[in-house]
């Protein structure tokens, strides 16, 4: 696993920001594969391999989920609840990645078993640094149970 490509599901409705994040992942030395969805509905469909995401080969389960809270259709917290209530998905670490510093959001995220909560950093360097760190931490340092 450690040597495999690190698969990340990015759930982010701002397309430009998503592109920037993907850029940062790709600029990282570690081989990563980013799957991007724009709203809560797509995220759930992806994770449950539904509709346009039914092909698991093309849309594999990720090793890490980056989840924005403010999403169209289905909110980030709802997506989180879905993940953490699904035995198939519960083991996938979820990082809440949002611009909200609201105490309520923070609390709600952890109450629903988010694995981490990061406020979106300002500027390319910080973002790049952050991506570097999460890949370093979640791929190299952290151990997750294997199925």
């Amino acid at each position: 696993m450690k040597n495999n490509v690190f698969k990340v599901l990015l759930i982010e409705d701002n397309i430009d920001q998503a592109e920037l994040i993907i850029e940062c992942f790709e600029g990282n030395n570690t081989p990563c594969k980013i799957f991007h969805v724009v709203d809560g509905e797509e995220a759930i469909n992806y994770l449950l391999a539904k509709e346009e995401f039914s092909d698991r080969e093309k849309h594999p389960l990720p090793d890490l989920i980056l989840l924005d809270l403010k999403l169209p259709k289905i909110s980030g917290i709802e997506v989180l609840k879905n993940i953490k209530n699904d035995p198939e998905l519960i083991l996938i670490p979820v990082i809440i990645f949002t611009s909200s510093q609201d105490e309520k959001d923070l609390e709600l995220a952890y109450l629903n078993h988010a694995n981490s909560y990061v406020v979106k950093p300002l500027g390319y360097d910080s973002l790049s640094n952050f991506i570097h760190m999460i890949v370093g931490y979640w791929k190299k340092l952290n151990t997750t149970p294997q199925k």
Partner: protein, 594 residues
């Protein structure tokens, strides 16, 4: 009260008069007579005793122990010195039947003298009368004037008892001075008068004290009665003029009293309630049961009990707050129930309004909070994007990837535009809350046609068929705002028409009871049912890839809310078209509410 005082004084006067009459009219004369009798008795006894001296010496003479002369001399000597009385100055004397004085201790001059012609100063031949009395009865009383004992110059009335001593033809006697007796009686009288005066004084003092005491209590009682009357009047006024309904019931649910306040709420005369049982009153069944239960509760628990009731009445439905209090007698038994009913209709009404307002405020607050949250997040987002791409430009310059720079800058420009658009929309939204445009008559047909004209190029581009109901109504509303709503809804319909082969937009209305309900229906991409309500939220975009900023429907909703109407969307799901409805009340208010 005066009467009673007079009566008491009179009674006392009668008692005192009676007392004096008895003392001086009956007792004193009786007493006086008694004293006289006693004195007479005394002198008769004394005379008898002295007579025995004579009898003793005469017996000695008869025995031959003495001669008559010796016996008589011895008697004379003995009688001469025989005295009695307080100062041993009272005496006996002896004369014979002639009459001639034998022995008199004080009138020695008379001894041996003939007394046949002896008269007292009033001319009475007293010694002759004595002889006659003795001759007649052997003994008896004789009254006359005589000198007071040894005092020759003082002649006073005297009464004497004389007894004859037949063997020697002598008469022995002794007397009392009426003067002495009267003196004594006077003394007694004086004492009696003194005692009477003391008794009268004492009883007067007692009487005065009693009267004062009586007057004091009587005055106190009168004052208390007065105070009680005043207090009763005071409380009666208080109860009768009280706004609350006040009733007093006995423990058999019978009305004993009701103040006139009840007349405000029911076609009832307060006085006519007295004596009636609750059952006899024309009360709604539930209300009566309500009351009966409450009364039972008060009787069972001996504690006050409060309840709220709604009563139909003269002035419409009235809400009362009833308080029932138990009333106890001296033995702590609950005998009566006091019911106080306060009309709280107004308060209830106001409470309701306040609750409503509080609820509205809370909703507004929550809305504002969520608005702040959404806005701050939404405004942050383009800045994050810009910052990110700014860094990326630097990176690309460093790496010499100049071909990427143009697209990076384009992204930044997009973000800046988005930011600007957002601020623009927020400004518009804030104005919506402030501007109070006057309502005017709007021909909807005209307004819709103008809007279609405005959007004509987009409609042509998408080749959409527009179908407007021929007959459209006139409404009363804020023209500019309603145009915004219509434009927004038609724009949305065009934007989400999809890849339809025969795209069509239908515009029309239905007339309901109080409102016109307008619709804009398309056969475009539709909306999943789960999101039909969400789309009216601020910055809510179902498709992140589409342009627009998720503000149009939020603004439309706000405008329709201001007009007192409703706005909603209907769709059977994805690719099944969509219909937007909004209503405008037919009886419109004159101004937009802020």
């Amino acid at each position: 009260m005066k009467n009673i005082l007079i009566r008491i004084t009179l009674l006392t006067a009668i008692v005192i008069t009676l007392f004096l009459t008895v003392i001086f009219g009956i007792m004193l004369p009786a007493f006086e007579k008694n004293i006289y009798d006693q004195k007479k008795e005394m002198i008769s006894e004394l005379t008898n005793s002295a007579w025995n001296i004579l009898a003793k010496f005469e017996a000695d003479e008869k025995k031959g122990l003495l001669t008559r002369d010796q016996a008589q001399k011895a008697v004379i000597a003995q009688i001469h010195s025989l005295h009695y009385g307080n100062k041993m100055k009272d005496y006996f004397w002896i004369n014979d039947m002639h009459p001639k004085m034998i022995i008199h201790p004080y009138r020695i001059d008379l001894n041996g003298k003939d007394l046949s012609d002896f008269k007292d100063p009033e001319g009475k031949k007293l010694f002759v009368e004595m002889v006659e009395t003795v001759k007649k009865d052997g003994a008896g009383f004789v009254d006359y004037m005589w000198q007071l004992r040894e005092e020759e110059n003082k002649v006073v009335p005297k009464i004497s008892y004389v007894k004859g001593f037949a063997p020697w033809g002598w008469i022995i006697g002794t007397g009392i001075y009426i003067y002495d007796v009267q003196d004594e009686i006077k003394r007694i009288k004086r004492n009696l008068i003194q005692i009477s005066i003391i008794i009268i004084l004492l009883s007067t003092v007692v009487l005065v004290y009693l009267m004062l005491e009586y007057m004091r209590t009587e005055l106190g009682r009168a004052n208390a009665v007065e105070a009680l009357k005043y207090s009763e009047k005071k409380y009666r006024t208080l109860v009768e003029n009280n706004n609350d309904v006040i009733m007093r019931l006995d423990n058999k649910s019978r009305v004993l009293y009701s103040n006139p306040s009840i007349e405000k709420y029911a076609e009832i005369k307060a006085e006519s309630l007295s004596g009636k049982n609750l059952k006899e009153l024309e009360l709604p069944v539930e209300l009566r049961q309500f009351f009966e239960n409450a009364i039972k509760k008060v009787i069972d628990t001996n504690q006050k009990y409060g309840l709220e009731s709604t009563m139909p009445g003269k002035t419409g439905e009235t809400v009362f707050n009833w308080l029932l209090y138990p009333e106890f007698d001296e033995s702590e038994t609950n005998t009566h129930i006091l019911c106080i009913g306060r009309d709280i209709t107004e308060i209830k009404h106001k409470e309701k309004i306040i609750r409503q307002q509080v609820k509205e405020l809370e909703e507004k607050n929550a809305e504002l909070e969520s608005f702040n949250y959404t806005v701050s997040h939404e405004l942050k987002s383009p800045i994050i994007t810009m910052q990110g791409y700014l860094g990326l430009v630097n990176e690309h310059i460093k790496q010499g990837k100049s071909e990427r720079i143009v697209s990076d800058i384009k992204k930044m420009e997009n973000a800046a535009n988005k930011m600007y658009g957002l601020l623009e929309c927020l400004l518009k939204l804030s104005r919506l809350g402030k501007i109070t445009g006057l309502f005017e008559k709007i021909q909807m047909k005209e307004l819709i046609n103008e809007t279609i004209e405005l959007l004509n190029s987009n409609i042509k581009k998408a080749n959409i068929k527009i179908n407007i109901l021929s007959d459209m109504p006139e409404i009363k509303a804020d023209r500019q705002r309603i145009r915004e709503v219509v434009q927004n809804l038609i724009e949305n319909a065009i934007k989400y028409i999809g890849t339809q082969t025969e795209p069509e937009i239908k515009i029309g209305f239905t007339k309901e009871e109080n409102e016109h309900c307008f619709y804009i229906k398309d056969n475009g991409i539709g909306i999943e049912k789960a999101y039909l309500e969400k789309i009216f939220n601020l910055f809510e975009k179902l498709n992140p890839r589409s342009d627009g900023n998720g503000i149009g429907l939020a603004v439309s909703k706000k405008i329709i809310d201001y007009h007192g109407g409703r706005i909603w969307a209907e769709s059977e799901g994805k690719n099944k078209g969509c219909a937007f409805y909004f209503t405008i009340p037919i009886i419109a208010v004159e101004k937009i509410k802020i």
